[in-house]
Amino acid sequence: MNAFAIAFNRTIRVGWRHPLDSLTPMAFFIIVVSLISITVEGVSDSENGIAIAVLWVVLLLSTMMASSGAFAQDYEDGSLEQLVAQNESLYVSVHGSVTARWFISSVPLLVLVPLGAWMLKLDIEVWWILFLTLIPGSIVFTLFGVLGATLTLGVGRNGVLLALLVLPLYIPVLLLGVGACQRSATEEPFQFALIGIYAIAMAAITFLPFAIAALLRVSQEY
């Protein structure tokens, strides 16, 4: 097995044995969407604009929550040290681990998006563009979330700090994604935003694992 598959399998298995790590963000997603549906009047009859924005922001927050625990357990029990020490190709291992984390944390949330869209009375014509943008969007959110988690490894009570570090980095993708969906809903041209979000996703997939791998090394050196 190569480094990618080893890291992927391991992260999936650990995630499978700690189902609460995936279920808690899912519950969070549903609760926040229902809070907004209950309290904000007119969410359902505002030509989809607010509903799209709500779904994006809530998915963003849940993904950040879900990826905040990345590598924390490995850091505590020393298996991260082994991963770094094997030093074969940490970049590839990080890729495997982040891909697995996307399956653990983002895919369950994406499965919930239709339920959220139904709760917010989003027109069914908008669903396809929502998914077309949410898939690359959630990949970027996961990568930045894991980056934030590695930045704050070993820092106690890192939740608020993580939000401060990661949320500004989310904003360009959020704007592009919401922009593409809303433009599509009002039948304006949205290709620019759609291409932009895929371009950012490609760049993030390529470069961010370098940064994550560098930070993992640093966390073991000092």
């Binding site: 930045l151 890192n158 401060l164 949320l167 500004p168 904003i171 360009p172 704007l175 940064a211 640093v218």
Partner: protein, 248 residues
């Protein structure tokens, strides 16, 4: 070129930097405060009022230099972060720690002066368009760098983490820079661009240039001043600091 690499290597040495920067701080303060005084008095008192905006356009003399400089400081921090990651030069981290607060304040000032300017000219202090939002993101990035640095107790590790975060955050800079050209926003495109004729009258331009030079010089002076303090604090156990303290 040989001279340049030599100076570059020498600047990496704390005692050399500490002694060499002293003269620079004084001169940069003098030039910076002097030019700011001249440019501001000139701009506020002696330039004609704008045909469309009246006197409110005079905020340009502080808003534009502050906004531009804050962005430059972010890029400089990211470059220093790269230098620190690759060569592990101590002075690069000293620069980051000394410059990050100034960058945050300048960004906040650029936003504030923009709001003050927007109320009479746009009719609203704040719009959620690409330029204002991306500058706000830059403020958050600065605050994130500060928070991360203070949260990590191990100094070397904190420095490396801050360097990585600064480099990743650079993606925001082209978004700020080109937001007025790519998207339709209320914010006007830049009046002074390399390669294009300058679309601003010379009588209004000169005070702006003087103020820009002044603010840049002052900022460089302030950063060097704090770098000297931080160098002393970090090297407090070394011989050369002891010599300086004993001789004074």
């Amino acid at each position: 070129m040989n001279w340049f690499t030599q100076t570059f290597h020498k600047m990496g040495s704390p005692p050399f930097f500490y002694r060499g920067a002293k003269v620079w701080v004084t001169w940069l303060y003098v030039i910076g405060l002097g030019s700011l005084l001249i440019g501001t008095v000139w701009g506020l008192g002696f330039t004609p009022a704008d045909r469309l905006q009246g006197d409110s356009f005079r905020i340009i003399y502080l808003h534009v230099p502050a906004a531009h400089l804050s962005q430059l400081i972010y890029i400089a921090i990211a470059v220093a972060g790269f230098v620190f990651l690759v060569w592990r030069m101590k002075m690069a981290d000293v620069f980051i720690v000394s410059a990050v607060w100034l960058g945050a304040w300048l960004t906040a000032f650029a936003l504030f002066s923009g709001i003050v300017w927007g109320i009479p000219t746009w009719g609203t202090g704040w719009v959620w368009d690409a330029r204002t939002t991306s500058v706000l993101v830059q403020l958050f990035l600065f605050l994130g760098l500060i928070a991360l640095r203070t949260a990590i107790p191990n100094s070397q590790r904190g420095a490396l983490a801050v360097a990585v975060l600064a480099i990743v955050g650079v993606i925001n800079i082209p978004i700020i820079k080109y937001s007025v050209d790519w998207f339709t926003t209320l914010h006007q495109p830049a009046s002074i661009q390399i390669g294009n004729p300058i679309s601003i009258d010379p009588s209004m331009l000169w005070p702006l240039l003087v103020n820009t030079i002044g603010l840049y010089a002052l900022a460089a002076g302030v950063i060097l001043y704090y770098m000297r303090i931080n160098v002393l604090r970090r090297e407090r156990n070394s011989d050369w600091v002891r010599d300086i303290v004993n001789s004074e």
